[in-house]
């Protein structure tokens, strides 16, 4: 749940149900969580899958400290980071990934993978992701491949000269 809330801070989405706590509902349409962020983080290929429980604990500790600092009372029924409002999650994540933060590397990595779940569905074959209507690829408008699964774009050029070339250009097109 904590990691879901982190991923949702990176690419926010709509709640999966009215009582969804991890997803804050800060943006329309599905976000990183619906796109499979936690699934991606759990793939061994990421190399951080075994660190996830530790990262979640650390994040909740940071959330408690943040709440103390800002005089916030946290709902004890959910992990501390989940209990934060979206704006507070955002502010905390901003400080964790800021240049100079001693744990920056770890949080940037978590952010990278959260983002990749949305913009590439890196835990799935891209064809399958498209066939299943992966929300991130759909939102970005990724075009469909040819039937053999490879992309080809027979139309690709405006087909006309659109600028003058630099006067100091060699015949093959290099600068002089």
């Amino acid at each position: 749940m904590t990691l879901e809330a982190f991923a949702d801070t990176i690419v926010p989405g709509e709640r999966r149900s009215p009582d969804d706590r991890a997803v804050a509902g800060a943006a329309e349409g599905p976000g990183a969580v619906a796109a499979g962020a936690v699934e991606l983080l759990r793939t061994p290929a990421t190399g951080i899958h075994t660190d996830l429980p530790v990262l979640a604990d650390m994040l909740n500790e940071h959330a408690r400290a943040y709440a103390d600092q800002h005089g916030l009372t946290l709902d004890p029924g959910v992990p501390a980071f989940v209990a934060l409002a979206f704006e507070d999650r955002t502010a905390l994540v901003r400080s964790l990934v800021a240049p100079g933060h001693p744990e920056k590397d770890a949080w940037v990595l978590l952010a990278l993978f959260s983002n990749m779940a949305f913009d590439t569905a890196a835990h799935m074959h891209t064809r399958d992701a498209l066939a299943e209507g992966h929300p991130g690829l759909l939102a970005m408008g990724l075009m469909e491949p040819s039937p053999d699964g490879l992309w080809r774009f027979p139309a690709y050029s405006y087909g006309r000269r659109l600028a003058d070339v630099h006067p100091d250009t060699t015949p093959s097109g290099s600068p002089r």
């Binding site: 061994p44 290929a45 990421t46 190399g47 994540v93 983002n115 939102a139 992309w151 080809r152 774009f153």
Partner: protein
């Protein structure tokens, strides 16, 4: 195995520097072994797939440093397999660059004129060709039209692509499935194999030690095919000559690790690293304005919305490659496709900053992602100050590997000087002036906050030069104080180039060959210089013939 394995020449890495050396030495008659860290893939294995573990991550090495991250190839063929194949020659003024040391950095024997015949050899080998406007993609066309609208010029860039085979799929970075990209897998490497060179993939060189007969012992680990964090074996090979070509992010690390045994390395090993002054700007295009202002339209009634279509950089603006301008204010602006996953995260949402919102994540960034088909990426190559320095080497390879593949943490430190920062700012402003004019787009540079500056053009970490204090190699690419070790990759290039570097890396490697062949002969290796182009063509060879005696004078 009790007997020591021996070869005449051992080449480390199979990118431009490695492949060219392997070919010439093997064709000349030497026994050549190439050790390559990455896997050896065939075209049918180049996948259109973003899944972790597909060719899109298998054949890459992304090393996060302190202030600079380096993306490079990790496979047989090196960067040529993943690159965009833009192959311009460096402009004339580059060879006169002084940086902040106040005198010419490049060896006196090298200028654009003296390098030209060596460029010709590469152009014939790959081959490199010009493009006409009918071959220019929508993204390139849009960039050209925007430049023209701003009163500027724009050039179709010379490429090592067979446009007849290209499907404009934009998966170049995962390796070309259609054999349209003329990577080293089609020319120098098969020709080297035909002459008996051996290429061993998944062999990562760790360090060199000396042998009793004045040669070198090369120590390697064998890497697991799927999880590059796992080493399955290790071994050594003795060689009379070693050619290091592991790329500018790895070659100096091998030398640093070898220092304990080989003795002191030149001061410049692992210093003066340049990221080629590289930087990306992401524009979100206003489709209506493009139609109205630039008069562009394509099939389906669209104006642009073609970010996914194409093939890397095809059009560049070179107005600022002007030798009359002061150093650090010259740059090129090249349109580029950068796929999701590897870099989308660094794109900053326009307007987010003004609203006090995060720029690279959160609600506004998600909105920006929805307009992804209308993105246009502009790549800046400016003059940096060679300010990168490598810290102590990691345990193995050139990084502590985090993910199974691709991602690692390295020891490169890069803190831009005022010169570099000013160059970036000027180039950023120029992009903005062109693309925000008349409301065509909103544009922001990528952020350095996450993984530092980001380069796919690492250079100069082990550079050639005339001054032993600031260059690791003499102008024949031999490592100072360590005869028989040569470096022919991007680390030898002394400065950023303001254009894509592969053509210059390759031309310098071609130029280094006569001297390496001579050194091999002096060590009793029966080898001759003079191979034709990999496909047998000879016109470029004829043109360099008169230069060869000058190259091998000792």
């Amino acid at each position: 195995m009790s007997s020591v394995e021996r070869t005449d020449v051992l080449v480390v890495g199979s990118g431009f520097g490695g492949a060219i050396a392997a070919y010439h030495l093997a064709a000349g008659g030497a026994r050549v072994v190439v050790l390559e860290r990455g896997p050896w893939l065939e075209s049918r294995e180049f996948e259109h797939d973003f899944k972790l573990g597909s060719s899109y991550t298998r054949i890459f090495d992304f090393v996060v440093g302190d202030g600079m991250s380096v993306l490079g190839g990790n496979c047989v063929g090196g960067g040529s397999v993943v690159y965009f194949a833009a192959m311009p020659r460096a402009p004339r003024f580059v060879f006169d660059r002084q940086g902040s040391i106040g005198r010419r950095i490049w060896p006196k024997g090298i200028s654009r004129d003296t390098l030209e015949p060596w460029y010709d050899r590469v152009a014939e080998a790959l081959p490199v060709t010009g493009q006409d406007w009918n071959e220019v993609t929508y993204a390139g066309g849009l960039w050209a039209a925007a430049c023209a609208h701003a009163g500027l010029t724009a050039n179709p860039v010379p490429v090592a692509v067979d446009n007849d085979k290209c499907t404009n799929c934009n998966w170049m970075m995962a390796g070309c499935r259609f054999d349209a990209k003329r990577s080293l897998l089609f020319n120098y490497l098969p020709a080297a194999l035909a002459h008996g060179a051996e290429i061993r993939p998944l062999h990562e060189v760790q360090r060199l030690t000396r042998t009793d007969d004045g040669g070198y012992r090369v120590h390697y680990n064998v890497i697991d095919d799927e999880d590059y964090r796992i080493h399955t074996a290790s071994g050594t090979i003795d060689a009379k000559i070693v050619v290091l070509a592991a790329g500018a992010g790895a070659t100096p690390v091998i030398l640093q690790r070898s220092e304990a045994d080989l003795g002191k390395m030149p001061h410049a090993v692992g210093r003066y690293f340049s990221g080629n002054g590289e930087r990306l700007n992401t524009a979100v295009i206003d489709e209506d304005r493009v139609r109205e202002v630039l008069g562009l339209s394509r099939e389906g009634g669209l104006a642009y919305a073609a970010n996914q279509i194409g093939r890397g950089p095809v059009v560049a603006n070179w107005d600022r490659l002007d030798g009359d301008l002061p150093e650090f204010s010259r740059f090129s602006l090249e349109q580029l496709y950068f796929p999701p996953g590897l870099g989308t995260i660094l794109a900053q949402a326009p307007d987010a900053e003004d609203a006090g919102a995060p720029t690279w994540f959160g609600v506004r960034k998600k909105e920006m992602l929805r307009r992804w088909q209308s993105w246009l990426t502009i790549f800046i190559m400016s003059e940096d100050d060679n300010e990168g320095v490598f810290g102590p080497p990691p345990a193995t390879g050139n990084a502590m590997r985090i993910s199974q593949q691709m991602l690692g943490r390295g020891n490169l430190r890069y803190s831009p000087t005022l010169n570099t920062a000013r160059g970036w700012a000027e180039a950023d402003a120029a992009v903005r002036e062109i693309l925000e004019r008349d409301g065509l787009a909103k544009v922001r540079p990528w952020t350095n906050d996450l993984v530092g500056a980001y380069t796919v053009h690492p250079l100069a970490s082990c550079r050639i030069g005339d001054d032993p204090a600031t260059s690791a190699l003499d102008d024949r690419h031999e490592l100072r104080g360590h005869p028989g070790i040569f470096v022919t990759d991007g680390s030898a290039v002394p400065t950023g180039l303001t254009v894509n570097p592969a053509m210059t890396i390759a031309a310098l490697a071609e130029r280094a060959m006569p001297a390496i062949v001579r050194a091999a002969q002096e060590r009793g290796i029966p080898v001759r210089y003079g191979a034709p182009a990999p496909d047998g063509a000879t016109s470029a060879r004829r043109a360099v013939e008169p230069l060869v005696p000058g190259m091998i004078r000792g």
